[in-house]
Subunit: 151 residues, 2 copies
DNA sequence: AATGAAACTACTGCCGG
DNA sequence: CCGGCAGTAGTTTCATT
């Protein structure tokens, strides 16, 4: 179905670090012409491996100095609980990511705030009032490193 | 220092969803000319708010059907422990993200594997043998939603 | 900040292996 | 089926007003 050779993986690795690199530049590095490189990129999009290109933002530079990961366990386990919770949590502006997970917690949230005082406000007024919310565990982000991954 | 008006935030919001959108297209939506829009984008880069553009990859389409979040507590708390651990964990190919956090855990790892069997291999042979590793908690990713955030 | 020109990049057919 | 060549369309980038 989808067979990726070493060249495809090299393209994904390079573009993962910097998605602005032109196909011609990339092709020189791989011994390919610009159209050949670009066709491979289009093919990676078509098979769904490459779903888009997004910005890499610096939350601190934007005035959001605090990033917190929240592990959330639901109190009520009904079928409607999940959808109610997801709809409500997605409406909170400070929530960047909502991950539905299996394990000790039901959801993992990535939340940003201007500072710890601001985070406490979000926690008390937005998070703790979510429908069906149970035990919560918090981890404050100190530093983060993104790696190339297994490509 | 960094004063972002509503237009800057609108640009970041739009590019966060799709970083390939041309400045001219974006300017029409905001009532700005193409160069004006482009200057704002350059300024956002210069003040460090916009640090780059990265790919949005679909791990499942690349043959990695399992994504697991690992909360890790270190056993030894010495100053060298952190660096040793970080260096070793960053060398594991299956590790996508390493987050140093404050809370119940010391590190949060995002790990991908081909399937659960493959994940068990990574866990036993790579993760559990990390220097200074202590208690570990795992959460398997079911689904994930990225939101615009507080911009 | 807009206009227009220049350079560059993305994309499309066509042909050869 | 995949890659190179050549040409077109579209975007970025910069100079001028």
């Amino acid at each position: 179905m989808n067979e990726l050779d070493a060249t495809d993986r090299a393209i994904l690795r390079a573009l993962s670090r910097d998605a602005t690199r032109p196909a011609a530049d990339l092709g020189r590095e791989l011994g390919l012409s610009q159209p050949a490189t670009w066709r491979r990129i289009r093919r990676l999009r078509e098979i769904g491996a490459l779903t888009g290109r997004r910005l890499d933002l610096d939350a601190a530079a934007l005035g959001f100095g605090v990033t917190v990961f929240l592990g959330v366990k639901l109190a009520s386990r009904g079928r409607a609980s999940l959808e109610d919770f997801e709809r409500a949590v997605c409406a909170i502006r400070e929530v960047q990511t909502v991950e539905h997970v299996l394990g000790l917690y039901d959801y993992r949230l990535r939340i940003v705030a201007r500072d710890l005082e601001d985070f406490e406000r979000v926690l008390r007024r937005r998070i703790m009032t979510l429908p069906g919310i149970g035990p919560v565990e918090a981890n404050v982000l100190l530093s983060e490193e993104r790696l190339p991954g297994p490509l």
